[in-house]
């Protein structure tokens, strides 16, 4: 029983980590709190849904959905955030724009798609569970945990081990100076949007597969958990997002299992407020002091 709870917590935690990764990358490099992030999750899920309904295999539909979400993220960034970046507007201005855009996009999606819950066609992925020492494990669950671990490793390598990452870190430190040093800032901004949106899209597909339920507002539900994970892990901290995602996921599952499932949704928020009081820089964070 406990082993099963822990495994379920690991899966839920991996989902939260996947969602938080792109969000925290966007903040870490570009200083933007992008609230439209949850919407890219819904886009990914819907693209995969339509693709599989037209006979595309899920292995192909997953990268396709990630690509589509990433491209839409680039378009949204180009239309809304680039003008603000050019005007050197504050972090709050970009937050407000994405806030407005989120409501706008959800309202349009709601009118166009309706809030009915949709499901993947049957047999899109092998749904049978295997028994591993008394723990029921499905293929989707393995896929979720493996993608979370793999993507965090890949992102950490990209940021810290590659030449591209050096450019990204330079951009995060001081955009103007980075541009003067020959960093192609415009291209890197689009790359960050593509990765961040793509991660959200892939996460949407995996959530859709895990719960077999897809609807336009599925990203909004994730927002609360996403914030908790990002603040607990430290804003902009990739490693922190993974660890915090797992912590929130495990605590939620254990609360639902041993206390009451109605208290479950409060766990993330309680952790968020506690983090702000006790350690606002997050698990591994260093507080970024802003100087003139």
């Amino acid at each position: 029983m406990l082993a099963q709870q822990l495994f379920n917590g690991l899966v839920v935690g991996s989902i939260y980590a996947l969602f938080a990764l792109g969000f925290t990358l966007m903040f870490g490099v570009l200083g933007v709190v992008n609230l439209t992030h949850g919407f890219y999750l819904s886009i990914g899920a819907f693209v995969a849904l339509y693709a599989t309904q037209h006979g595309v295999a899920i292995w192909l539909a997953l990268p396709l959905a990630a690509l589509a979400s990433g491209v839409i993220a680039i378009v949204v960034d180009g239309l809304l955030l680039t003008p603000l970046r050019r005007a050197k507007a504050s972090e709050l201005a970009s937050l407000m724009v994405t806030l407005g855009a989120t409501l706008l996009l959800y309202s349009i999606a709601n009118a166009a798609l309706s809030t009915d819950i949709r499901r993947f066609p049957p047999g899109v992925i092998d749904g049978s569970a295997i028994d591993l020492a008394g723990v029921r494990v499905t293929l989707t669950q393995c896929l979720i945990v493996a993608s979370a671990a793999g993507l965090v490793a890949a992102l950490l390598w990209l940021m810290n081990g590659s030449r591209l990452g050096m450019g990204l870190r330079a951009l995060a430190e001081r955009p103007d100076t980075a541009a003067l040093m020959g960093v192609n800032a415009g291209a890197l901004v689009r790359l960050v949007s593509l990765i961040s949106g793509g991660l959200a899209g892939a996460c949407g597909v995996l959530i859709g597969l895990n719960y077999n339920a897809i609807q336009p507002y599925m990203g909004e539900v994730m927002m609360l958990k996403g914030f908790a994970v990002i603040i607990l892990g430290g804003l902009g901290d990739i490693r922190g997002a993974l660890v915090a995602g797992l912590i929130v996921g495990l605590l939620e599952t254990l609360t639902a299992g041993y206390v009451a499932s109605s208290v479950k949704d409060g766990v993330g928020f309680a952790l968020l407020v506690l983090t702000l009081w006790i350690r606002p820089s997050g698990l591994f964070g260093r507080i970024a002091v802003k100087r003139a």
Binding site: L103, L104, L224, L235, P280
Partner: protein
């Protein structure tokens, strides 16, 4: 009261009430925006005020003035718990924490038996009216004007334009931010309580993310240079769906689009006045 005013009120009662309440909500977010912070918890504070006041009136029969007081104190407490630790950090943290507060409160209202779950609370007696709503709005507006023209108002404006410089000049940043957040939560709680006592029915979805973004759109459209801007913005955006009926179904699209367009193209809003300082005219060197 002359008969035609009575007739007018009878027909447009709901609209007249919501104009005043939305004006009060716009002022509540103005108090925080005026010093360069962003609280997305106004809808949550409003909901807290609405539910607390409704429960006190319906279940315990507490007198209306005391109910209003409680509806202001509880949101103020919530603002202290959630907001206080964020005020030494970047403004992003307050925004994220308050969006979180709204979501978690909505989930609580939906699941709690005390608050009637998804069905909400109904049969709240009509205790509010023109006098309480527009009296509150008038008092709040006067107080905001008075503060904006004082030394405190100048400190707030300095913080909004350049927080580091204001801090270096001796403005106690965390104290100002905390006071503004608490006052703003109290105003929103009051608006929520008044609203609950003129509509007689409240439900969790009235105080969600959508409502929070709408309240922000009032203030941004009107402009936060003076307290008149947000109230003007609230009036325009409340009247708009009444005038253009076809817009009523697309409130979310309108609120969202207004925020996007205003922040990018018109960051100072419609009313770009600044409040002058008290006695500025007499002190000006000749």
């Amino acid at each position: 009261m002359p008969e035609f005013i009575d007739d007018f009120l009878f027909t447009y009662q709901t609209l007249v009430y919501s104009l005043g309440i939305n004006g009060l909500l716009a002022l509540s977010i103005y108090v925080v925006l005026a010093l360069g912070q962003l609280s997305m918890g106004q809808a949550a504070f409003m909901g807290m005020g609405a539910y607390v006041s409704a429960l006190l009136t319906v279940k315990l029969g507490v007198a209306f003035p005391l109910v209003l007081l409680a509806a202001m104190l509880l949101p103020a407490l919530a603002a202290l718990i959630v907001g206080a630790p964020t005020l030494r950090l970047s403004g992003v943290y307050l925004a994220l924490a308050t969006i979180g507060l709204g979501e978690v409160q909505r989930i609580f209202f939906l699941n709690s038996e005390l608050t009637g779950g998804a069905l909400g609370l109904s049969g709240i007696p009509m205790k509010g009216g023109l006098v309480s709503i527009y009296g509150s709005l008038g008092l709040a507006l006067l107080a905001c004007i008075f503060v904006a023209r004082s030394r405190i108002g100048r400190a707030m404006e300095a913080m909004r334009e350049d927080e580091l410089a204001a801090g270096a000049l001796g403005v106690d940043l965390p104290a100002y931010k905390l006071a503004a957040l608490v006052v703003s939560a109290m105003l929103a709680g009051l608006a929520g309580a008044l609203n609950a006592h003129v509509t007689s029915f409240i439900s969790p979805e009235d105080y969600g993310f959508h409502a929070a973004v709408s309240i922000l759109s009032y203030a941004l459209l009107g402009g936060i240079g003076s307290p008149f801007g947000p109230v003007l913005g609230a009036f325009i955006l409340t009247l708009l769906p009444e005038v253009l009926r076809s817009l009523a179904d697309y409130r979310g699209v309108v609120s969202g689009a207004i925020i996007v367009l205003v922040v990018i193209f018109m960051p100072r809003g419609l009313l770009t006045w600044r409040m002058g300082r008290v006695g500025a005219a007499t002190r000006r060197p000749s």
